[in-house]
């Protein structure tokens, strides 16, 4: 995995008093978070900055703790600052509320929802799924989506992205008896 060199820069873990620098600092953190999520196929992060893995596969050792803590240089960003960074990302839309099991988790959007929706549409077009019912499981975990960026995405998030397609009039969602989204038909 490639972490930007600034991840090893000790002052990155202290909230900078100079506002211009602090903006840059927060941008750097956002970059680190999104890059890490993308490169490791991770989707959820808790309020302390710990990634949770959806698969049974274990996280690499350096990601088992909070991303805001760097043991090799002995630095940890204070909780208040972490909160500030995460809420900045929430405002910007690169993070959204609503992880799978707890209410305290965030979903990491290393592409925005619109791009995800378009990518899913593209997938349906390339794999000849137009007009067919595709389950969310098939879409995010099926063999046919291997190699696509949304492979492994939590189904809840996938449903949220697909709802954008519904809005565009390109898809219909299908629910199970508990009213949960389980499948989609893209037209």
């Amino acid at each position: 995995m490639t972490v930007p060199p600034i991840y090893a820069f000790p002052p990155l873990y202290t909230r900078q008093p100079n506002a211009i620098i602090r903006n840059k600092q927060i941008d750097s953190w956002e970059d680190i978070l999104l890059t890490t999520a993308r490169e490791n196929g991770l989707w959820e992060i808790d309020t302390e900055g710990k990634f949770t893995s959806q698969t049974t596969q274990e996280l690499p050792p350096h990601l088992q703790g909070s991303i805001f803590s760097n043991e090799s240089i002995g630095r940890t960003a204070p909780p208040l600052f972490v909160k500030e960074i995460l809420s900045h990302m929430l405002t910007k839309g690169s993070l959204v509320q609503g992880g799978s099991d707890t209410t305290s988790a965030y979903l990491v959007l290393w592409k925005n929802m619109d791009s995800w929706a378009s990518l899913m549409l593209e997938w349906c077009e390339t794999t000849n799924k137009l007009g067919q019912v595709v389950t969310l499981y098939e879409l995010t975990n099926g063999d046919e989506s291997i190699g696509w960026d949304f492979h492994g995405m939590p189904q809840g998030l996938a449903a949220r992205c697909l709802r954008l397609l519904v809005k565009r009039g390109r898809a219909t969602m299908l629910q199970d008896e508990y009213d949960r989204d389980i499948a989609v038909k893209v037209i």
């Binding site: 090893a8 820069f9 000790p10 873990y13 008093p17 100079n18 620098i21 903006n23 002995g74």
Partner: protein, 237 residues
């Protein structure tokens, strides 16, 4: 399940597709590289015509730019390819770009070493002397670009109009050794009064020249020079 007829192709279709795509994109890359090399050769061979015909030159440059040739690679300063000044103008443009992009991180101070090794990495023929000459040319624009020297050999480019005080320069000297400075380091090495250290460091933080770090074993605040960030990547290379 064994499939027959056209359906038999379905199973392996994906693999073929991606393989073909990869091969194609590799071929394109190679062709583009070749084309770029040829263009550079062409520029070398037809240097005089290019120099004499400004319209031809502009079009040629535009073409090179659109297919991704760094203009710096087109110039050969030893052979006066095009006009020798063009080469330095290109460096000037690059310098302004780099300084603007990195100003928020480094407060407008960047070492020539960093400029050459990190930001001019794609154009191997640029030397520190070239950068210095380009900065000299920028002087006529009155943009506040200036080169200063610390410890008699480390040169820095300053792209913000506020001039560094001699105290601030001294702090940068200390930073260039360890990557950071602190009150006690300054007191010990420069025999400054406590107040003088504090004032200088705080001002540099306010100007965006230093980043603070309060997690150094709870002892005192360290003040880091942001050029450390790219310095550590150079060591890894």
């Amino acid at each position: 399940m064994k499939r027959f007829g056209v359906a038999a192709f379905d199973a392996s279709k994906g693999a073929y597709e991606s393989e073909t795509l990869q091969r194609q994109s590799k071929e394109y890359d190679e062709q583009l590289k070749l084309f770029q090399d040829r263009l550079v050769q062409f520029a070398n061979a037809h240097n005089n015509e290019l120099k004499e015909n400004p319209e031809f030159k502009a079009k040629f440059m535009k073409m090179c730019y659109s297919i991704g040739i760094d203009p710096l690679n087109l110039f050969d300063k030893d052979r006066h390819l095009f006009s020798v000044n063009d080469y330095y103008y290109e460096i000037c443009v690059k310098l302004i770009q780099i300084c603007r992009e990195t100003r928020d991180i480094n407060g407008g101070i960047v070492s020539l070493d960093e400029l050459r090794k990190v930001y001019f990495a794609g154009a191997s023929n640029v030397t520190e002397e070239d950068i210095e000459k380009a900065v000299e040319m920028l002087g006529s624009l009155d943009g506040g670009f200036e080169i200063f020297e610390i410890r008699n050999h480390l040169k820095f480019l300053r792209s913000v109009p506020t001039e560094l005080t001699s105290d601030q320069t001294k702090v940068l000297e200390v930073c260039s050794v360890m990557g950071y400075a602190s009150n006690s380091l300054l007191q010990a090495n420069l025999t400054w009064e406590k107040l003088r250290c504090k004032a200088t460091l705080n001002e540099m933080v306010a100007n965006g020249l230093l980043w603070i770090d309060d997690q150094c074993g709870g002892r005192e605040i360290l003040y880091w020079d942001p050029s450390w960030i790219t310095r550590s990547t150079q060591e890894h290379l």
